[in-house]
Point group: C2
Chain length 201, copies 2
């Protein structure tokens, strides 16, 4: 450590964490805007205002950086979704369906989609992204069950919620090339009704 010991330890750890966070957020934006082919550690480091060396200290490979970025932002979004609906108050199902679908229509889903599709043809990504998507998918399912107040002990309820999440991913895909907001609003309103009836029984 030598002369480094003069700097207090906490602030340095804070700085390191802040750098890491900046890199992760820049990586998701980069992936969402430029796709996998246009996303490298260098491009992200520049975007985050971090040296390439520092970026590689945090994330030795391109795969490390982008899988960590999608996971980090997914966790942030999950927490934000839970915070929208405090456990104390019963949530309106249409509002929950809308919020769940929103998880799949922003830059995070766009970034995840690029990573997902790249992983179909890149061996270095395939295993990691498969595992990441399973983890993120399970968490989304858990949150949806909780916020919808769904009782998975009832036959069919688990699949009802899974289908809703599949629909949300399809709606996210539909938003990739053009603005699908108006149509999506109508689909979500209708399926929130159907879901409400399905979960009432």
């Amino acid at each position: 450590m030598g002369t480094m010991t003069r700097a207090p330890k906490e602030p340095q750890q804070d700085r390191s964490r802040a750098t890491r966070r900046r890199l992760l957020e820049a990586a998701v934006s980069c992936l969402a805007e430029h796709g996998w082919a246009g996303s490298t550690v260098s491009v992200v480091a520049e975007r985050a205002g971090v040296s390439r060396g520092a970026a590689q200290h945090h994330f030795p490979t391109r795969e490390d950086l982008f899988t960590a970025a999608v996971e980090y932002v997914a966790e942030e979004r999950s927490q934000a979704l839970r915070a929208l609906f405090p456990a104390s108050a019963p949530a309106d199902r249409r509002a929950v369906v809308t919020a769940v679908v929103d998880l799949y229509t922003g830059p995070l889903f766009r970034a995840a989609l690029h990573l997902w599709v790249a992983a179909a043809n890149e061996d270095q990504l395939h295993g990691r992204v498969t595992e990441l998507e399973a983890r993120v998918g399970r968490e989304a399912h858990r949150i949806a069950v909780e916020l919808l107040g769904a009782d998975e002990a009832v036959p069919g309820v688990r699949e009802t919620v899974q289908g809703l999440l599949d629909m949300a991913r399809g709606l996210g895909l539909a938003t990739l090339l053009s603005d699908d907001t108006a149509r999506r609003g109508r689909v979500v309103a209708q399926w929130a009704l159907l879901l409400d009836e399905a979960l009432r029984t």
Copy 2:
């Protein structure tokens, strides 16, 4: 034409059509297996057993070839889907839902997905693929309405069917990295029930 006039015209047109079809089918398989980055006119020509010159005679650019390929195979699949459920017999809704979802879980959807995601970042593709997806999407909607015997004059029915197709695309996405057949079967069974009830009113 000169010496060419000796060859009868019909067989030559047939040959040309057969070459075109071989190229289109090879293009979809290539895109499904290797993604957009690995899909070029040369690779497809070799796969189809056609000279590069002949391939470029049919499809001057890479964009021409792959958008035409996705459109051609989508039409073939639509016709095959209609043929599965002759208008004379009332169709079982669960069977229809299963068949519609199947449209999105094979090589065609995988190819379309690669094209779709590439179009998000490539200007030469963006407009064409947006238009293509809208056209293919409208046709899928038309077929689904017809086979499900859905009455779109009833409020909400249009959105119910749209949501089903969004779900089918989400299920297609879930099949990209790993085999999702068992889970998909359960989701489809459950949502076919919900859909059946929704369309009964």
